[in-house]
């Protein structure tokens, strides 16, 4: 069994590559300097937070979760409760308890609290649900999402019902979003090489053998569930501070499926897959949007018909999955071939081959 320090030495190059990649994207965006493009990139960083956070649970446990966007909903609404000016809250959300009604916190504090709220909720729900595995667990998480959505859509005095709550301060710029994305990637990396993460991956790959080796799969799953809920709660808070508006349907099936697709297209069982999945799919979506608007080619504008963009992205995903059923990264991590400290295998996969140029 490898020692912990050497595990870090062997695998940290992945983390460095991913962080550098994210920073590079932010810097290039700033250099381009176009406002709409910057907003697209901020949104992409938030998606990185969501998908990497989702990966902490789904990737390590092998259980597909349809429920994590529920945590995003919890986080976003918590951010709204903590940061909207009290005068506005008195009018739009009369049912808030008084300590919330008068609160106006710094947005970073509110984001941390939002994550905490999601984590506590996950701890309570997870205690019950993590006993399930396979498709039953997936359906249970979906049911959880539906419950959260129903409650937030109808609890008018506290959540504003199906309408939107406005007045959340705009605090998430590109650097905040970058910071958030890096934070979640670091958390995901640390969890993945932690004792619990390794145990959970063992349980994912061979449940019987892992259980026989004394791994309590339910407990490890719960740990992963809570950590990933925290990161997604924070992501939800940053998203609320990015849009300035929240409404329950923004946190339902649409985001659930797009984030899951990004994870699976990237490679469900690797952190690099989670990050690359977001970057690749977001890039393709952006390219198609530009095509839809039309590109100027020597005086003639070439544009694809409206609505074709969505069809194309669906087809692209199908084609990618056809040729790479286990995702773009084939479930491996990006590594730097010439990394000087420590060589060998990570998670039982020989990493002699580099796949750093997927993008």
């Amino acid at each position: 069994m490898a020692k912990r320090s050497s595990l870090i030495a062997r695998t940290i190059s992945t983390l460095i590559i991913l962080i550098l990649l994210l920073i590079a994207i932010a810097v290039v965006t700033k250099l381009v300097g176009s406002r709409p493009f910057e907003r697209t990139v901020v949104e992409m960083f938030i998606r990185v937070m969501l998908v990497a956070g989702l990966y902490i649970f789904v990737g390590n446990s092998g259980v597909i979760s349809f429920g994590h966007i529920g945590f995003m909903c919890l986080g976003a609404y918590a951010a709204a409760w903590f940061t909207i000016p009290p005068a506005m809250k008195g009018v739009s959300l009369p049912g808030l308890p008084s300590f919330l009604a008068h609160a106006q916190l710094h947005f970073l504090v509110s984001a941390a609290l939002a994550g905490l709220l999601a984590a506590i909720f996950a701890l309570i729900v997870g205690r019950i649900m993590m006993r399930l595995s396979g498709i039953a667990a997936s359906i249970a998480t979906f049911a959880m999402l539906a419950v959260i959505n129903t409650v937030y859509s109808n609890w008018d005095s506290v959540t504003g019902g199906t309408g939107s709550i406005v007045g959340i301060p705009f605090n998430t710029g590109i650097w905040t979003a970058l910071g958030g994305a890096i934070l979640v990637v670091i958390i995901a990396y640390l969890y993945q090489i932690s004792r619990s993460g390794l145990a959970l991956r063992a349980g994912r790959d061979e449940a019987t053998a892992a259980a026989a080796s004394g791994i309590d799969i339910v407990r490890e799953r719960l740990i992963a569930f809570v950590i990933s809920a925290f990161t997604i709660g924070v992501a939800g808070a940053l998203y609320a501070h990015f849009l300035g508006v929240v409404n329950p349907d923004a946190f339902y099936l649409g985001v659930t499926f797009i984030t899951l697709s990004m994870l699976v297209v990237g490679g469900m069982n690797s952190l690099s897959g989670a990050v690359l999945g977001v970057i690749v799919i977001s890039t393709i979506i952006q390219l198609l949007r530009w095509l839809e608007k039309g590109i100027d080619l020597g005086g003639t504008t070439i544009a694809i018909p409206n609505g074709l963009q969505e069809i194309a992205i669906g087809l692209v995903m199908i084609v990618i999955l056809m040729f790479r059923p286990s995702g773009l990264t084939r479930n491996r991590e990006l590594v730097w071939r010439y990394w000087p400290f420590g060589k060998g295998s990570v998670n039982g996969v020989a990493v002699s081959k580099t796949i750093e140029n997927v993008r």
């Binding site: 409206n306 969505e310 069809i311 669906g314």
Partner: protein, 304 residues
Amino acid sequence: MTAVLQVIFDALSLGSLYALGALGIALIFGVMRLVNFAHGDYISFCVFAMLWPSIDAAAIVFAGNLPTVILIPLILAIGAGLSVLSEILIFRRFRNANPATMMIASFALGFVIKNFLLMLFSSRPKSIDLWSNLSLPVEIAGARIPLLQVITIIITIVILLGLTAFLKRTRFGLEMRAAAENFTMARMLGVKANRVIMLAFAISGMLAAAIGLILATQSGTADIQMGVSVMLVAFIATVIGGLGSLPGAVIAGFLIGGASVLMQVILPLDARPFRDAFVYGAVIACLIWRPQGLFAPKSTKQRV
């Protein structure tokens, strides 16, 4: 008494829709372990096929104007065709992929179909005038029940009986049941994989078309989202019933339909908007109670 009868009919007709949907999903899951998220979009596609080529808001129905005896087989054929086509073009290539990959592929396909419909018909709901005289009430034991509800229930029972006869009495049915039980073993004993899978897709597509016809008649509108909500509940019903068990899927469909209608009646007024939260809470409780489903076949029991 009449109120009780009304509730029973409401529950049965809603349950019928869910049961038909769950059956369509369970059939495909049984033979290829695919959770087909495109199923809801097959339903919408079949509804909109009745409008095509008209894209007006007050639809001048083309296919819908055909006489019933032609319209119903036509829509069923469209559903089956779309379903089989997606098998041949897409799902066939995912036979050996893991379930998550297949699930996302089916979701992507549903996304494509939905946006194709959006591009053609735009997102505004359209009105469909299909057998509108069916919404007239009939009197049964003192209660006034919409004729359509009665017909929905009867049609569902007929479909279920027909399918049962098909599965139990014919060679194809036997092959399909064997494949659902243990696909590898069935292949070794001479069941042709492609034929069985295509058949499952065809039947599943026809079930989607049947749901589409019922939904369109019931609501009088064609909405791109209409299939998805049925599909989600049907998907849950499939799991609660025990994946791989066809009778389980049907019974669970009726159970969820019944639970929704019942909760609408018995919940206190303040809690009624939260009805779905209670229904889904019951779903979680049911899964915790029996993770393998209410009627799980022995072959799918997990060892650990």
